[in-house]
Structures are given as structure tokens and as C-alpha cells.
Assembly symmetry: C2
């Protein structure tokens, strides 16, 4: 079971209108509501592909209750931490003529006791967990140290952690020894202030991350370790809705790593002197390449779906085992 | 106590953004949520001005629960009829640069049993009621006959009814013998197909309405009976937010009529042969003019408030008792 933390969940509402117009009254032709936030997207994709998850998320108000009921309806296990604020809503307005317009509520601020309750919920689940995933933005005014506490708790329980956050939360996760930091390229450069991807990844590795996986959309995905870079291209010829593709990629990455780690764990525990499954010993090139290919296949499968948080497992399988030989395109480099 | 039915309530959400732009991601700077729908606006204004109300409304889903809790927080009495659908939300996007953009969800459709439950809730409250108000649109695919049933139930219990609906629901209310039909001018012409206000009003009167009150925004408000038209101008020099001004006017009208009817009821019951308080006997010119002035004052007071469903009673009093002599501007005409 994979524990997936969504620090700032949202009710994602999509309104279809005939034509977006500013300053007018518009009849909404179709309404879609779904539980959102990057962690919930990751969890839904993992669940679709047969990997059990348990979501941990702070929820408040009517929007929070709606999310809890929607997760029940989807059959996803979740531990809700009750908060005083109202869970945020995002409204996306779409038509067939213009780009979507997205209106994002600022979301609630959580008190220290509320974050303590989230940490307690995470910690209670870790003893039975195969991995911890933390994904998505933090609510306003949140101490990024909360992410470090979850990563440290995972290390304490010998559970690998994958963190897809941005800004100071990403830096804090690296410093706490996250097994995998998984920003997209823009988030990596933004958080580290680096000018290029390799420099940014090195900064996170030096802080303590075991691997830094960088997704670049149609430019593929890479895994950086202290001494090498593994590169896997995006699945070619796929177009559609990129929203949530990065989250599906995280799900593909985590699912593949957990499978490999399960198999490698017994061997690794024999030789790892510290850090347990955080040791790079278990993350050899074959495992990482497989995980990157799984991430790319899941990301491409998500692009084919109209909404975030969904993949068709048949698409994943098709993209993961195409007719071409991976060796033609995948590269392992040893940076200068 | 005034029973106020809101057939299609809504969560009214207002998002303030820096600048409305189509096709972009916009941070919402400020979120306001309020229970909406014309009937709830009428009820809140009546409550603010000291007239007790009891709201009846179908509510479903998380949005419905939010409205129920918001009404509790406002201290408004309400009977909720549980429905299977999700109560609608309206999103209004505002900035300081352009007109507001309003996105209105279609709202749920109610089944026959759900409407029966609304009718039962209304009927149960009528024995203790001073008036029945039905205000606002009907949900999609609703038989307008439901409004006629509520009006008929009110007549059966000797309770005057005021109906601010549009389209076929307005016609049905008139045919059922509503004491007051209160469309705005556009709604009147639209529902009746008439070319002018007097002709439209006559069509509703001929169907069975006792009085037709037509609001015209800054062009004042009029009461039509079979043989005369009473005209009261809008309060001059008031500008602001017209949203909900018509609902405040309805509240002002109803509050004044109920007070007058209370006083007149005993006398009227002696001479009315049928229709009880629906008889025009109790709605003499003095009562109607007072009610129209109250409506105009409430409407103007609502314009001064930033959101619908609110008036400052001090503004109402100021507009109701200005220094000028009403007789200078109010007119009673006997149409040709």
C-alpha cells in the first residue's frame, strides 16, 4: 500500500459554456466535479493500475465533505484530517473556441495542530506502507518543514518517499533525505535557482535526495543521481489533454519503483549500512530505467484521457511495451 | 410569519480577480459564498427588517448542505426538502475593470415525489402564515403547475400569496388566483406575449390575479388592478449594485401588505364572499400605494449594498419617509 499525501486538495469543477465572454451572464451547459489536487490524481492512477493506495488529506467545510464522499464513491481508501477552513475549489471554464480559463481559490490556511494531525495520520500508516508519496502545492502560509517531517518519518520506518512539490517544500524534502524528488523542469530551476537541469538536480542531491527525477513533458523524463543521468524520451505521437500527465507519470514511477524495491529489499537490507531503502544500492540503472519508462507510459496514457487522474491500463501497457527497442532511444550518461 | 418558497436555490459564489482574462490561469484574490436564489434574498431582507419568515427549499448534495448551514448561521428558519440532485452553484467573477461575468449552473431536475414533498412542506406551514411568497426560477423541466398548487393551498388556508416567477409559472400562478403577481416589466411582457405593460397585466388579472405589481428598476413600480394603475417612482439619485434590488422590492411590498392585511383582515372577512384576503376589498388604494412605496424604498436600499439579499433598515426608513411629499409624484390612473 502506498500512502499518498495531498496537502492542498481541491474540488475541481469544469464548466462548459458555448463561448467564453467577459462581462456577460453565461449558461453553463455541462458541469463536471471531481476530487482534485496532484496527490489525488496520483492515487487514482495507481489505483486504476492495481496498486493499492491510502490517501491522507486535510479536508474542511462542504467542499471537504464533497471530496470525502467522492473518494468513497471511487472506492479509494482515505484518512481525512478535519480542518477549520473550507477546502478550496478550482473552476475551469471551457468552450470549443478558446483556451480554458482557470480560476483557483487560495484555499484554507492550516494551524500547527492541524498539520500535527496530518503528520500523525501519515505516521500511523507508514508501518504497513510500501512507499510515501507527497504531491502538490502546500496551502498558503505553510511551513515547508511539514514535508520534511513526513519524509523523516518515512525514513524512520524504512519506507521510500517520493516528493513532487515545488519551492521551499522541495528543498526541505531533499534535505530530509527523500528517496526521490520529482519536480518538473520548471519547478526544479525555480526551487533551486539553478540555470540548468543538471545543476539543479545536483543541488537537491547534495541536500540529501537519493534520486532526482525531472519530467519535461514532450521532452521526456530523466533520473539524476550523483554520478549519472538516465534519460527516457516521451512516448511519440501522443496528443490530447496534458493536465495531470505529470501526476500520472509520478504514479507510473512510484508503482514501478515499489515493485522493484519489494524484490530488491531483502538483498538491499543485507548490505545497506544506513538509509535502508533510501540507499542508491537498490536503485540500479535497470530499476531506474524501468521506472522512467513506466512514468513516460503513464504520462502518455493520461494525455489521451479528457480529465486528470485517469489512465486506461491498456494504453499504459501499449506505451510500455511498444514494438521499438528501448535501447535505441534511452540513454545513460555520465556527466562531466 | 411569511412562508417563502425558493424553488431553485443556489450557492452564489463571487470570485474577485485582478483582471478577467479568457484562456489563462487566474488566482482568486477573494472568495465570497452566500446562500442565493431570489426567495432567499426576499427572506433575508424581510428578516433584516423584522418580519419573521420561514424558508422552504429543495436542497441536495454538498451545495445543499452548505446552504442549510449558512441559513442556520444567519438564524433564518427553514424547512429543507431533501432531493437527489446537487443544488446549483453560480459563480460571478469580478474585477475593477470590466462588467462581472456570471456562470450559472443548470441546477438539478426534481422528480414528482420531490415536488410533492415541497408542496407538503408549504402546506404544513400555511395554517400559521401571514403570507406565502414564491420567488425565483423553477428548475429545468419543472411542471409550472407546482406553483399553482402552492397558490391554491394558500387560498385554501386564507393566506395571501405573492408570486415573483417568470414564464409559464407566472401564468399558472395568475390562473390559480395569486393575490399578487410581481414580475418585472420584461418578465411580464415575455410571459404574456403582450406588447405593453397594461395589456400584459390585464392578461394576468383576467386569469385570476388580484393585483399585478410590475417593477421597472429606475422607472419605478406600478400596481395594476382591473380598473386602475397606481404608479410610484423609483427613489431618485441612488446608484450602486442593482443585483437583488427586485427581491428587496418584493420583500418591501410583502412586508407592507401583510401589515395592512393584518389590520384589514377582520373587516374584510365580514364582507368577502369568496377568496378571503385575496379579495381586492382589502387592497384599497392607500394600502397599495404604501406597499409600492415600501417596495421602492427597499429596492433603493438594496442598491446601496454590495451584495444581494441585504438592506440597511436605516436606508429603508430614509427612503420611505423623505422630505418630499409623495403626492407630488405618485399617480393613480384609470386606464381607458
Amino acid at each position: 500500500m502506498i500512502v499518498v499525501v495531498t496537502p492542498n486538495p481541491a474540488v475541481d469543477v469544469t464548466y462548459r459554456v458555448a463561448e467564453q465572454r467577459i462581462g456577460e451572464t453565461q449558461r453553463v451547459l455541462d458541469v463536471a466535479r471531481r476530487p482534485g489536487g496532484k496527490g489525488l490524481n496520483v492515487g487514482r492512477v495507481l489505483d486504476t493500475t492495481g496498486t493499492g493506495t491510502h490517501a491522507v488529506l486535510p479536508l474542511g467545510g462542504a467542499a471537504g465533505r464533497w471530496i470525502a464522499e467522492a473518494l468513497d464513491a471511487l472506492g479509494l481508501a482515505h484518512t481525512d484530517v478535519a480542518i477549520g477552513g473550507e477546502t478550496r475549489t478550482t473552476v475551469t471554464v471551457v468552450d470549443d473556441l478558446a483556451h480554458p480559463t482557470m480560476l483557483g481559490e487560495p484555499g484554507p490556511e492550516l494551524g500547527a495542530e492541524e498539520w500535527d494531525a496530518v503528520t500523525a495520520a501519515v505516521t500511523a500508516l507508514l508501518p504497513g506502507a510500501d512507499a510515501l508519496v507527497v504531491s502538490g502545492s502546500l496551502p498558503r502560509a505553510t511551513d515547508p518543514g511539514v514535508v520534511a517531517r513526513w519524509v523523516a518519518a518515512a525514513r524512520h520506518h524504512g519506507v521510500p518517499s517520493v516528493v513532487d512539490c515545488s519551492g521551499d517544500a522541495l528543498l526541505a524534502a531533499a534535505s530530509a533525505g527523500a528517496t526521490v524528488c520529482k519536480p518538473n523542469r520548471e519547478e526544479l530551476l525555480d526551487a533551486t535557482g539553478a540555470d540548468d537541469e543538471r545543476s539543479g538536480a545536483r543541488l537537491l542531491l547534495e541536500r540529501g535526495a537519493t534520486v532526482v527525477v525531472v519530467s519535461r513533458g514532450s521532452d521526456g523524463i530523466a533520473a539524476h543521481t550523483a554520478d549519472r543521468v538516465l534519460d527516457v524520451p516521451a512516448v511519440p505521437g501522443v496528443s490530447g489533454n496534458p493536465t495531470g500527465a505529470g501526476d500520472a507519470a509520478t504514479a507510473g514511477l512510484v508503482g514501478a519503483l515499489v515493485g522493484a524495491l519489494d524484490r530488491a529489499l531483502d538483498r538491499a537490507l543485507d548490505r545497506a549500512t544506513d538509509g535502508g531503502p533510501g540507499s542508491t544500492a537498490v536503485l540500479d540503472d535497470a530499476v531506474l530505467l524501468h521506472a522512467l519508462r513506466s512514468a513516460a507510459a503513464h504520462g502518455a496514457a493520461a494525455v489521451l484521457r479528457p480529465v486528470a487522474g485517469e489512465v486506461d491500463p491498456a494504453d499504459v501497457a501499449r506505451f510500455l511495451h511498444p514494438d521499438h527497442d528501448h535501447a535505441d532511444t534511452d540513454r545513460t550518461r555520465t556527466p562531466a
